[in-house]
Symmetry: C2
Subunit: 369 residues, 2 copies
């Protein structure tokens, strides 16, 4: 291992007030380089709702993880490889890293391409500590100039996808794509509903459509109907304030619902009535309240429906998703922000202005606005 | 259609106090005989928890359904057939009827052997009204001497199964067998957990074992461990008052849990920790409270687990179950009560004395004690 001629530095939060636009640019020490690691010169990093929920401590205190550099939709150029680098990655390649940067790599789940459900050693790309190599080192995310971590979790970005558009696919896209393929969107699940047209929801429509499903967007108002249709949705259900009324006549019309919304007062009896027997209602976002809306057992039993959850995507699933996106020329809807303006971008993201994902551009490293 | 030389009479409840042992023997008018109907001379009828929840109005007021004759685990001899009788049924056959006695017979679900999820026209064997033929006629169950209804829902009892033991399989058995096969017990779901060793739970152990699964019984105390093992269970988890502690070291050990218990204070975080990614926690009993215990969304998302429900079994599934029971010589554990002692049997059932199903024997009709 040779020393590098670059330093690791990035935009760090020091406390929950950081989400108001108070990130500070700092130098930090990455993990020790292991032979299966790579270093990336970061070109792009998406802003994910997880970033802001972590910075604001909306999911709970992060304790000794301050200061931390968040960001887990990272695309960069490989500038260093080890002797055991995986995925055929070599210097100069453009690769992406999502929300998970390590796992035990030996359990039943890791061995069958389900590292996202690893039984021990699941390491998040930020707000975590490495346990397999460089034990105890903090993980640092992508609001930065360089990134270091296991090559197993680095996915080559196919030619034909704009690397900036690829960035938010690595967490946001994968998070909805994984359940879409698990439950057979476009195959046995021909009719797919997407609740909420935000960052995740827009990927839901785009990717379910790419998979050949007929997509229904379920939204509070008609405001985003046009966007939904441009993304590929065939139907648009407006809940207003009375879901039961809104869904009348649509009972048992969907095989799968991906729920990207976290409203604690959702009328689950009404939502579950939309699902065909054997179908699934899948949560992909963790509510800051930590609570689900009440689920009436009769709706589950009488309808043979399932409420489940899905956590990000495995490296293999991310690869398949990127291949599909390249093949179908599907486009993420992004807005680019210079990474230097991060303290404006974050509050704008929190205010709900993204249509539908913000991507930070590291212009100094060659990222393109 | 010729007039019959028998009268329909049975043990009717007149109000919620009937569950205390106040059923009265009455004559009643059955539905008009349709050409696809049969009449049965009832030999046996199981006592199901649904019967007592209905009589006590634990699931809500039954209104104009009083007086009603409950019982939906009926076995009898066919004494009348119509010109359109189905299932190859002829006079003298021994057949069984479960919790559902009619459906629309033309929707998508009826057409693919899922009458139990019929989109319209689902008729319960008691506490309901016919809508396909003899519209508006009340349904009368099996605490009676005769039963009349659609032959589509009458299942021939295979030779080799004691008809008394077959009776409780028609609701209780089918209710657990249907999700066992739906989720692949003994195939992709090798490890099956059964919560609660009561009427349904005992069938869960017996039938999951017959399907080749390795069964774990999850119970409050060690009291029923020996029974569980005799029924085929390989493992027994005692929750005591601290499920989280009890399940330590058993995380991700089960592919499927069938929950036959309705405790509103179940620690779902702990129960869901037992399930492998992709696995299912299936409710089969409707709690009288109408509420589920709190389900932590993180448990669903991090574990890729599903909470769902299943409603009784279709006629086709009941046939397959009875064929399996005959093949494996699996035995229901029943206690027989003369139907004339029903007003003792019901309170004993409510008191939780059954080990594990009570079967009423209509001795006058030839049922055997």
């Amino acid at each position: 291992m040779s020393a590098t001629d670059y330093k690791f530095s990035g935009w760090a939060g020091y406390g929950p007030e950081s989400v108001e636009g108070n990130l500070k640019f700092i130098d930090y020490e990455p993990k020790k380089f292991a032979e299966d690691d790579i270093d990336l010169k970061i070109l792009y990093c998406g802003i994910c709702a997880s970033d802001t929920s972590t910075l604001s401590e909306g999911w709970g205190p992060v304790g000794d993880m301050w200061p931390q550099v968040v960001g887990h939709e990272i695309v960069g150029e490989v500038v260093r490889v080890g002797s055991e680098t995986e995925n055929g990655i070599k210097k100069g390649d453009i690769v992406g890293v999502g929300a998970q940067c390590d796992s035990c790599l030996k359990c039943h789940y890791c061995n069958k391409d389900q590292e996202n459900y690893c039984s021990g050693g699941w390491t998040p790309t930020y707000n975590g500590k490495f346990s397999r190599t460089s034990q105890g080192s903090k993980t640092y995310g992508g609001y930065a100039n360089y990134w270091r971590g296991p090559s197993h979790f680095a996915i080559p970005i196919p030619a034909g996808i704009d690397p900036a558009e690829a960035a938010p696919l690595l967490c946001g896209g994968g998070t909805v794509y994984s359940p879409l393929v698990q439950y057979g969107a476009g195959k046995q699940a021909k009719n797919v509903g997407i609740i909420g047209l935000g960052g995740l929801g827009h990927f839901g429509v785009m990717l379910a459509t790419a998979l050949g499903a007929e997509v229904t967007v379920i939204s509070h108002s008609a405001r985003k109907r046009e966007d939904a249709e441009k993304l590929g949705a065939k139907h648009f259900l407006i809940t207003g304030d009375d879901e039961a009324k809104a869904f009348k006549g649509h009972e048992r019309s969907l095989d799968l619902i991906i729920c990207t919304s976290n409203a604690p007062d959702m009328n689950m009896q009404a939502y579950l009535s939309l699902i065909r027997p054997g179908g699934n209602f899948i949560l992909v976002g963790i509510p800051e309240t930590g609570k689900l809306p009440d689920i009436p057992p009769t709706a589950l039993i009488m309808g043979n429906v399932h409420v489940g959850g899905s956590l990000i995507a495995s490296p293999q699933t991310l690869k398949e998703m990127l291949a599909l996106v390249a093949e179908k020329k599907a486009k993420s809807w992004i807005q680019r922000w210079p990474m230097s303006k991060i303290n404006e971008a974050i509050p704008s993201m929190v205010a709900g202005n993204a249509r539908y994902r913000y991507v930070l551009v590291n212009e100094e490293n060659g990222g393109k606005m």
